[in-house]
Point group: C2
Chain length 434, copies 2
């Protein structure tokens, strides 16, 4: 291994120069996004809220997209991120599998969300946009956007799902500290928000509704664009730095993954890890099992239907081909706010439908149990979202041990949980054996 | 610079093999600790609460103390820590000085406190102790001790200053998650706590009182020892890995420090940085200005008196030769909980009295201002304690710029502020221009 023993580090020069577009690799071409009248969305339909270059990325058939220098400079503040051999976790589990995690928690926002936030802020800045709106669930995306907007000199307004805002007040403080504005969603400043509050003055919000609010405001102001932290193809494109780095890091130590595991909310973390491996999986030379992990309480991929559905509650977004629990699905108030979403990335949905990848759901009790085990062994508190990937990794490693065939498991630690500790307190009350 | 550009990294093999004891370097020998009857404390007086080896370290005249392998293994989980060139901060300030910070925030507890926590937990374990009590102000020390105790299989009970517990609920959750017990101080389970509550049922606690409670419990139980996170000589000894690494890191890039700056609460962070430089300062070959920075609202070094005083409210600790505001000083509820202490490290006090180092106090407004600047430039939120060192560093760099003589400034980022965000919210309300 490297100089830093359990951490496989890459020099700055190994930061990827290109994003990897997986669209050309999909076994079945993705169906077009549709307007409410079921006619395909045209690029100009999207130009009210997105800059031209992101619209092009969304439908591109070109595999490699050069990362602009200013974005690469911004990413290089914290990238390449470490790949960590979790030996103490392996020992605590009593398994002989090799477990690695890609540590995206070292970013300035504490999660992988900064990868696309920097890119989207840059492209919007270049397009002359001075204001960005977005939604945030757990607060990770909002934090990432607040930081990126500031770096590129753009104002940011974040609609934060009300229940998450109440559970995670520190996130709002952090965004404000960076200079961003944070509003609880449903808010009273948009039609969509007012409608939701009229129906239920106590509404605690959903990601779908927060998206509606942010899109509504972006559509109505020419200086303002909307940015999305997951789901869309261009977001996954920007996250492929994760999987590309993992490939290089594993190659450095002569490893190949048997399992690639990531949690799935909107799909960008999972997609970012797995997209660069899709060709390898399809080539079949090395057997790689890629598992998207979701909470039992919001089982989009494992319990939803593959269909055309909108991405938000009010139906402002196009219809997208994806697994969905229905845009009016009200996820329970689980604490992994980033996984409380009715829909899924069209790319991940397509990969699942084509059986290139698998999906599974884990329980809150297992998330808590293995999050605590990670903290007590590796001394890192995972984000509640990341705890889903971790739990599945541990369960798989234990199963492999039982079968006598240990392997190489890689999961993404998509973020740290230091700003989500209230979630663990609640889980501790409900699930702790100790 | 290194492979990692703005980060000067050392390989694991460069983790110091010895702690550096500064006691033999003091220009005036330190006076002995005294009992209440003003007679010198004997080692056996301390053996009710400390293991023999820590008592020996407390009064040692030997410069180098070998770090036991199990402690070195534990430290190597996160050490050596990076020394970071803060170029974006320099640009934001508009100065041509070179500013570096030693990033102790990367430890499992998020602060430098883990350095001594691991050592103290190990030595107590070796001495057959199964339970440790301690106090914590900001919660950083409690977190560090909770982690260290767990690593070495010891139970931990933490008395947390009540006002800090209320301001920082996440810290308690984190300690509980690791398996430690956390009680608000004043508590009703000790004499000292009951006395304080009787005098004032609304008492919000002080570090001095929390120490009394933790010591009282340790004295009364043979299976239990007490551990202190700062002030004492052996604590500073364990923190000298900081300054030793800084020396190596600066040498790697051909730099020498003109200024060494650290915040001062009990003194362990400041002492850990500066102790390995005391010989150089006294040698006078290179002029190095070492500055201990405290809050204006708790000015122990700059407004206190050099005297013999106890370290706690109830007077359980020996009298120590140090600067003090008086053991009954009630510090205002400033948010840098780690700096709310009436006393000071005897070592730092001795260095200040002998004019080997300087001390200064900075305002809460400057701490907030430069903390925000660090976050917006380097994308790191400093602990409120560390913001004091940062603020002084920025003020010094600006002054040097005015004088046309830029230099090399090194400060310790003793911890990150992600678990202290409520502090910044309050400060924002009081001090923010934006």
């Amino acid at each position: 291994m490297s100089l830093f023993e359990n951490k496989i580090l890459l020099p700055k020069s190994e930061l990827p120069k290109f994003w990897y577009n997986v669209l050309p690799d999909l076994p079945e071409p993705m169906g077009p996004y549709l307007n409410a009248d079921r006619k395909p969305v045209s690029p100009s339909d999207l130009s009210a809220i997105f800059p031209q270059i992101l619209i092009e990325q969304e439908v591109s058939d070109q595999r490699l997209h050069q990362i602009p220098d200013p974005v690469r400079d911004a990413l290089s503040i914290w990238r390449p991120t470490p790949l960590v051999r979790a030996k103490r976790l392996e020992n605590a589990l009593g398994v002989s599998s090799r477990i690695y995690f890609k540590d995206e928690s070292v970013s300035p926002s504490g999660s992988h969300k900064s990868n696309t936030a920097m890119a989207q802020a840059y492209f919007n800045k270049e397009a002359g946009i001075t204001r960005l709106t977005t939604e945030t669930g757990a607060g990770q995306w909002g934090t990432a956007l607040a930081i990126a907007a500031k770096q590129f000199g753009i104002q940011a307004r974040v609609f934060m799902v009300k229940i998450s805002l109440e559970q995670k007040p520190y996130r709002k403080i952090l965004m404000n500290f960076m200079g961003a504005e944070v509003l609880a969603s449903p808010s009273s400043i948009t039609e969509a928000g007012r409608k939701a509050l009229k129906e239920n003055p106590e509404a605690m919000g959903t990601l779908g509704l927060a998206i509606s609010e942010a899109v509504e405001e972006a559509v109505s102001r020419p200086d303002t664009n909307y940015v999305l932290g997951s789901v869309l193809n261009h977001v996954i494109l920007h996250q492929t730095v994760i999987g590309q780095e993992v490939k290089k890091q594993l190659a450095l130590i002569g490893e190949k993954p048997d399992y690639l595991i990531a949690c799935h909310g909107g799909g960008s973390n999972f997609g970012g890890l797995v997209a660069p491996y899709v060709e390898d999986i399809l080539g079949g030379k090395d057997k790689i099992t890629a598992i998207a992990v979701e909470p039992e309480s919001c089982p989009t991929l494992t319990g939803g239907k593959f269909t055309y559905d909108v991405g938000d509650t009010a139906g402002f977004t196009p219809l997208m081909p994806m697994y969905s629990l229905g845009a009016d699905f009200q996820p329970p108030a689980i604490h992994a706010g980033g996984l409380r979403y009715h829909g899924a990335s069209p790319i991940v949905s397509s990969l699942l439908k084509s059986k290139v990848i698998e999906a599974t759901a884990v329980s809150a009790a297992d998330c808590f149990k293995y999050a605590q085990l990670l903290y007590r062994s590796e001394l890192i508190v995972p984000a509640p979202e990341s705890a889903h990937a971790l739990a599945q990794t541990c369960l798989t490693a234990l199963e492999l041990e039982k079968q006598g065939r240990p392997g190489c498991l890689v999961f993404t630690l998509s973020g740290h949980g230091l700003l989500d500790l209230a979630a663990y307190q609640t889980l501790q009350a409900n699930h702790s054996p100790s």
